[in-house]
Point group: C2
Chain length 380, copies 2
């Protein structure tokens, strides 16, 4: 085995753990925190509740809520200016992947200067970031655990992957109570995002025993609790999905992802499609494409997802992919690319962009932009 | 599930990863490192090799090698004085549990003042410690991962458990090449220590899904590779045992331990018995004692260790304990308490001391000092 690295934040996990936010920020030296969230979380009351916790601990705060799904480069620049002019010292993010990634972008630009575009790719951040405490309110993106931040370059219409160990937050506070105020559709699509993280990281060319056990745990939990979540969002189910998302993020942050994420970043940059909507469409055809390069592992996945072992590894792997597709259909998810894209005019361009994404590097089977076109045609 | 915490260091794992030590220390701000190791590692050449790496990166260093197995309070005081007088800024430990625990003790006293005895128990350390980079040379203690340090109070003849999140090193560099220069007997007894960590943390009252998956992985790896290691210390085997030890440490650091460790700390404090020699003696009787309180989990352990499932959970659990005992015997390990203690005069005193140990708190079945006496009598 080559030398592998494994880095995760300190994790505080459980019902009501949100109440520790101020203590955590204080421990990291906070006097004035920079809180990033979004209008949805303001409306449902979580932002106020968090501000109450900060104030109860005599922490000053600045609020930044100018964040949309697939956060934009210009929003990062605005946030960084506010952070600096207010002389904040610790970044807190409350939200799904978008507010968390926006918070990371703001932390980068505020501490390292320049523009967010300067940091696209791996290991481009050289100066320390402000301490970060993240509270994920969906169970899927894993941004509270990972060294990834995905920011949309609005001029090029592309989602930039920014990867650096310094993007791992100091503390992740994972409170499943947040999920109770989320619509079922979002809970389900976030769980599929976590599943996609788990599957892609498990077959990644740089997976290690430390990431593999997290990936498998996440696959097992999503396969078990996704059908339950479709019927009832009980707290035990939400807690299990939060555990799955956290485990999947520990895995992908350290093992990387693959072609599903490369394509989904390209699609999200060009069409502003919700990230969670891309996985049910792309996961099965990419798994079929990758199968020959990692048959043992695809059979392990197949066995967990289908609950069955067939005579050959290949048929067990295929059984898993079929079960997955049936599961997506039974959840009324869109499983054809034509259902989420307006037309097929830009497939080639999309694939030429996707092949530049850093996620391609860890895909288990070497892949060209032409392979991606074939995958998209299969998914169309 | 209650609120749980999960904190581990950044991990760099793999053959030859020792070479990253200087870069890691630099990243943590080092100009003059305080290197803790022991005479055994000096002799075999690893201390010189590490110093060469530091010097090649223009790092100043101070060496402290006055460490014995079951490190003593007075050694900690000496080390802390040296650290302060030399104005070192980062602590590096190279060794098994003893040099690593000594390094933690030195870091505590150097930064928090007073005497090491002031910090016995949980959460007594209030000021930040110097950054720490640890290189474990045995696969068992887990001190490079954990928030535990065990230091012998020579006056009271007791091993003090010191537990604090700040005792988690910043970076753990786990290089399986170190194990190649270790005698087989030490490799095996360290692996049993890791197994004991994995089993006790798995059934701990504060185990969480994050620690349980690590515990199970460690149990699986030790059960698989211990018999292999008894025959041949190939690098793949050593790497697997290192993985097991690391996973077990992630688990016990966050879930705690149980009665085996409480007793082994008391025995190690009074008789200076090697920590690794106590587990083959105590693990089976403590597992039998705990069984009724955690039958599901003991059956899971039994199934992994014996590779078989019996008709009832209880018989599967017992099968596991029996298989374990047979494994210890086949490895020529001592499995009776009378083989490692000079006499049975102090059993009651030992058990009255053990019941004070913080590890008792997380034991799955409530335990009194009289229960411990019965366990010792069974093991005698």
């Amino acid at each position: 085995m080559d030398v592998v690295k494994f880095a995760i934040p300190e994790i505080i996990f459980g019902r009501g753990s949100m109440k520790y936010t101020a203590l955590c920020a204080r421990r990291l030296g906070a006097e004035k925190v920079f809180l990033v969230s979004d209008p949805g979380l303001e409306k449902v009351g979580w932002v106020d509740e968090l501000i109450n916790i900060l104030e109860a601990h005599q922490l000053e705060w600045v609020y930044f809520g100018d964040v949309v799904s697939n956060p934009r480069d210009y929003q990062i620049e605005r946030g960084a200016r506010l952070y600096l002019s207010e002389r904040a010292d610790v970044v807190i993010a409350l939200g799904g992947g978008s507010p968390m990634d926006a918070a990371k972008g703001i932390a980068i630009v505020a501490s390292n200067g320049g523009s967010i575009h300067d940091y696209e790719g791996a290991n481009r951040i050289h100066r320390p970031l402000p301490p970060m405490v993240f509270l994920p309110t969906t169970a899927g993106s894993g941004s509270d655990i990972s060294q990834f931040a995905i920011i949309t370059d609005t001029r090029r219409r592309v989602k930039m992957s920014i990867i650096s160990r310094t993007l791992v937050p100091n503390i992740s506070i994972i409170d499943p109570l947040f999920l109770q105020t989320k619509p079922r559709e979002l809970v389900l699509s976030s769980a599929i995002d976590a599943l996609s993280h788990a599957i892609e990281s498990f077959v990644s060319v740089i997976a290690s025993p430390f990431t593999e056990m997290q990936s498998l745990k996440a696959i097992e939990l999503v396969a078990k609790y996704l059908p339950t979540a479709a019927v009832s969002l009980e707290l035990d189910t939400l807690e299990a999905l939060s555990t799955a998302s956290t485990a999947a993020a520990m895995a992908f942050s350290n093992a990387g992802l693959g072609a599903v994420h490369a394509l989904s970043h390209a699609i999200g940059g060009m069409y502003d499609v919700l990230h969670g909507h891309v996985h049910p469409v792309l996961l099965p055809p990419v798994m079929r494409f990758n199968m020959e390069a990692c048959l043992d592992k695809m059979a392990q996945i197949g066995r967990i997802i289908s609950g069955r072992r067939r005579r050959s590894k290949k048929s067990t792997a295929i059984e898993g992919i079929e079960t997955l597709r049936e599961m997506f259909l039974s959840l009324n998810m869109k499983v054809r690319l034509r259902d989420i894209l307006p037309d097929d005019h830009n497939i080639e361009l999309l694939c030429r962009m996707a092949i530049q994404d850093v996620c391609v590097v860890t895909n288990p089977r070497p892949v060209t932009w032409k392979d991606l076109v074939k995958i998209c045609e299969e998914a169309w």
